[in-house]
């Protein structure tokens, strides 16, 4: 009796497994057949509709669109037309026409209705579509979705609003930033990426909303965004206001927004303040101050940068070395001072950067120049580099350089004992 039960049990499981395997096999085959047909049809329809739609857009006659392009949302024609229109919308020439057609054919209305669906994925997909269609009429609905507690909905909505652009969406996002960040509904990286999508049009608004930036997290996100958008005097002014902020992240982002080559003129009065930040107690503020000064090609900072080569934080030391090297001949005195000093780490950093950026080539060229002082300083630096073991560029030049006079001088350097 017991054996019979066991056998029936095993047979039952085996049969179930066979049926399940068979079911999955059939499902795989059916799905493949269905998809093959669907996508073949979709490709074909895209081609057909592309021709029709282009014809309408180029003739400027959109009156027949409702008749010729009408389709049901569940039909294959619906996504085919949508794909064609979205692609055409990205071309400047057809932007307006494609937007009108999308609206005429009821795409935004359909996706707006879908926002009431129960499934999070369906709603998120609809939000995304509205964003891609740049549907301005859906902005109020999208703004209301920012107050939801579902992170997936909130982050897709922010992205959609950023694609649509405009002040209403931007203001709605900025106003809600403290809550969204506080509840962890969206990450700062995702936010910054979306804010950047508002483009240069967002600058005036972002630069003038300083009252909304009481929360340091918000201020740093906005400043970080402005730092990536095209340089603008309004952004520079806002950044200047935050240079002395009590929050280090905000100070660092303000420096980032200010440190743009284009701001060279705008922040000429702020250089002293930036140079002062080279002594900031927080290392990443010092790091950012170096970068900003480099971008502003700030010569008066050379001495201060020289001191940072001995900073306690390696990132700061490396950045200072890189910046001094990039400042070129103007920083030779400071470089010499560092190389003649006793800090091996600092010396290594300078030599490494000189090699990576091929500054050594420039130094070797200086050996053949007319300026005797420059020649002597360059020779001295190369000698020290050789002594520290950074000899590869010298050896390469000595073997295969093209200027005989320089080659002889390089030979003279490499003949010196390494480590001397």
């Amino acid at each position: 009796m017991r054996n019979t039960i066991i056998i029936i049990f095993i047979l039952g499981i085996t049969t179930a497994l066979m049926l399940l395997s068979g079911g999955l096999l059939v499902a795989s085959i059916v799905r493949r057949v269905f998809h093959d047909r669907k996508y073949r049809k979709l490709d074909l329809l895209r081609e057909i509709f592309k021709g029709k739609i282009l014809g309408m857009l180029e003739s400027g006659d959109l009156s027949k669109a409702g008749q010729e392009l009408s389709s049901a949302p569940r039909s294959t024609a619906w996504p085919a037309i949508e794909d064609v229109l979205l692609r055409l919308r990205s071309e400047e020439k057809h932007q307006m026409g494609a937007t009108i057609l999308l609206s005429t054919l009821g795409y935004p209305s359909f996706y707006k209705d879908q926002l009431a669906a129960r499934s999070v994925q369906t709603r998120a997909m609809s939000i995304d579509k509205l964003g891609k269609m740049r549907s301005r009429s859906s902005v109020p609905k999208l703004v209301s979705l920012l107050d939801e507690e579902e992170p997936e909905i909130v982050s897709v909505t922010i992205r959609a609003l950023s694609k649509i652009g405009g002040q209403t969406g931007l203001k709605a996002i900025i106003d809600r930033l403290p809550v969204l960040l506080g509840k962890g509904l969206v990450t700062s990286k995702a936010l910054e990426t979306s804010l950047l999508a508002f483009g240069a049009n967002g600058i005036p608004f972002l630069a003038e909303q300083r009252d909304a930036y009481g929360d340091p997290r918000v201020a740093s996100i906005v400043l970080g965004t402005l730092a990536r958008l095209p340089a603008d005097p309004r952004s520079a002014r806002l950044a200047t206001d935050y240079l002395s902020h009590e929050n280090a992240e905000v100070r660092s982002r303000a420096l980032q927004a200010l440190g743009r080559a284009e701001n060279n003129h705008e922040c000429s009065g702020e250089r002293e303040r930036i140079i002062l930040l080279l002594r900031d107690p927080v290392w990443y503020v010092r790091l950012q101050a170096i970068r900003s000064l480099r971008m502003l090609a700030c010569e008066p900072a050379v001495d201060a940068l020289g001191k940072l080569i001995f900073d306690g934080q390696w990132q700061v030391r490396n950045e200072a070395a890189r910046t001094l090297i990039m400042l070129g001949d103007r920083s030779l005195d400071v470089l010499l001072e560092v190389l003649a000093g006793g800090d091996r780490y600092a010396k290594d950093s300078v030599c490494e950067e000189a090699e990576i950026t091929e500054f050594t080539t420039r130094l070797m060229e200086n050996l053949g120049g007319d300026d005797a002082t420059l020649r002597e300083k360059s020779r001295r630096i190369l000698e020290i580099m050789h002594a520290l073991g950074f000899s590869t560029p010298l050896l390469t030049y000595a073997a295969s350089g093209d200027n005989e006079a320089v080659k002889q001088q390089v030979w003279a350097i490499v003949k010196q004992r390494v480590g001397a």
Partner: protein, 477 residues
Amino acid sequence: MMRLLSVTVLWFNVFVGVYFGIVNTIYSLLLALALLVIFRHIRRIKYSAFTEFQASPETPPVAILIPVYNEEDVVLMSIRSALAADYPFFEVVVINDGSSDGTLKRVIDEFRLRKIDRVYRKFLPSQPVKRFYYNIETPNLIVVDKERGGKADALNCGINVSRSPYFCSVDADSLLEKNALIRVMTPLLESSVPVVASGGVVRVLNGLRVRDWTTIQEIDLPKNPLLLFQIVEYIRGFLFGRVGWDVLNSLLILSGTFSLFHKATVVETGGFRTGNVSEDMDMIVRLHKHLLKAGKPYRIRFVSDPICWTEVPGTLAMLARQRRRWHLGLIQSIWQNREMVLNPRFGRIGMVVIPYYILFEIMGPVIEVLGYFFVVLSYAAGILDMDFLQLFFILAIFYGVFLSTAAIFLEELTFRRYPKWRHLFKLLLYGVFENFGYRQLNSFWRLQALLRYLTGSHEWEHVENKGKDDRVKAQTK
């Protein structure tokens, strides 16, 4: 005496039955979870933010670390595909781990690299570095030539050299799909809880046609049955095993072939451990241990859409070596972190996940091999009748077939990387065939690894020229 023996054998059979019942229930649960998650994931991909991140200057830089040891035939493919990654800012660090063939020369010649003097700062211990190579025309590529120290040592060296806050380890015989890096990074950018590691899917490269060393031109299936078995196995392992564990936030394994890590956290844990033959698993276990001890919130993620193609062994001897090494690595990783076992301080990892690995992954081959032996013995001794014996094997085989079919179904649902009808049927067929010998061989190799570990043999078994026979397509096309 005979009666006692029969009772023992009978009860052992019952134990084997119950054991496999539990294992299969767990697998079925993981499969059900994976199905649910993958269905959702497919819909989510349509509105994923990865294209925005791909173009965003806010996306953090990543260092792609490629440790290389005697890989002159394929090294250019992995470097070229890494350099072709569609990612805003990244550096590629190739670490030549004392190759004795022409690997280094090949890389130097191909990228016209020159020696450069760079400072090597040891945040993590590693064997001495001999030289650095660089070319300002490819500024995001640096090649480090170092003394041989093994993969873990090479990765530590790469971490020391890299300057990015994240690094992605990629094997030298692997090809990254262009958007794999941004896709594996996306969970880190979207999660409000810090993600310290994230892994993608690894697929079998053998048999594929590769263009310009960077792009897959045509996907085809190899002729070698051993490779076909592995294709089915990789699909199953990555699409439902890891997806299932990821949902439970309990991943213990990410493939070292393609995984992304937060550098500072890895440095905090002391880097990759050179004494372990499976440095990838050991790192994940230690990340869990370190972060749980520190009480820091974190996540380790697996993402099912970034793909890295890698060569797999084409001969039984090499496959045996690889499988023994994997199992030995699993045992070592758990033994070296044994303080986590059933320790409530380590939450579900210590109380559930590691015990699962001990009971069902480490001990699995022992029970399986003994199970086959005892069931046959029971039949010979007249304890089990023929019907029962046949049913036992039919059940075991059909369950295997079911899992393989389900995995191929998942593949159909997700990527359909094997597009032709003959691919589908061939994979399904090999999903059936693998239950007749291949699976048992795997269990045998894993048992061998356990026995070797118990007898004190812990050496790294190097797998040479993994896909030698199938490389021609990758090189010439």
